[in-house]
Amino acid sequence: MAHNSKRSQIRALWVAGAVLAAGASFQASAQTASQPFAKATEDGKHLVVTDEQAALGTVYHALTDKDRQIFFESDAPLEDIKGQSNRVIGFVVAGTDGSLLTGEWHLPVDSIRTGIELRDHHVASKDWLDAKAHPNIVFQLDHTEDVVLKKETEAYRTYSVTLVGEFTIHGVTRPITIENASLTYLNASERTRKIADGDLLAIRAKYSVHLSDYDISHPVLGKKVADEIKINTVLYMTDSAAD
């Protein structure tokens, strides 16, 4: 009898140890990005693409400052907040079958505008996104799944895809899967060249994130600022290095 209880105590200790170890490893995966972030070029308009990444396929760079790229909404009981930015920089590498093989884009926290100056400062402050310590919100694309050609003309091809990668906000990285995103590859034409050089790509995605998942806590979270932030992203990109 005593022997049995000692055994069950040892088993309980093992189970507790395993649970703690699993918890610690989950915490570690949630805290750090598996890949280091890409560096920005000197002019700050692009991210540096390594030779290894460039060799995978066609490189597209984000067209910054030309159109709105990110729009988010927070629907809280006491206040609705909308924000946007057109300063996203980044790249993707596209394969021949419409898929994306890798990519990364950075949203500078201090570029987020909500329509009220003081609120913009609050968003970037230490209490919220802490732009000083974590200047960018980063999406690192690992790959795309469920690539289905949805529309095709001589001028463009549109695919529905699932984006799989990691999202880093406030220095905390979490895996993310965005279903029903779309990729439109638009061939260069006289019309497109008036606005941007090269073949163009539009990445469109709708998704949401919970601020509490990214270690953002504040007394007004859930009251004046919703925990769930709905994000719409439309990134326009070009395969021309000139833009």
Partner: protein, 122 residues
Amino acid sequence: MRPRTIVFAIAAVAVLVSVGAWAATGAKPFTRFENKENTEVNAQNELGDLFVDTEPEGDQVELGKIDSGFAFGLLPAGPGKASLSVAAVAGVAVFVSAAAWFFDRKKKGAAQTADQGDSHGS
């Protein structure tokens, strides 16, 4: 008309005008001023126009717009000019009205005391 009544009337009109301005500028919770940068970004759509009708039907991703025009809010949105709001106007109106009422009462009290002093003296 007594000065107190005039102050009350002006305060009431100021509050009514501020409520009217709040309603007329979109009934927003916070005051904000026109921001040229936001207006410009809201207007950007050249690239978007190139990609019109290229999305799969029913899966459209819309980019909304943030408010970039002037709005006289219910509450202040910061110090300086952003503090102008219905709440600020109402606060000043209540303070001025209370001060007018207080001084009027004090004046009335002093006059009554003086009257009483006169009647005792005579």
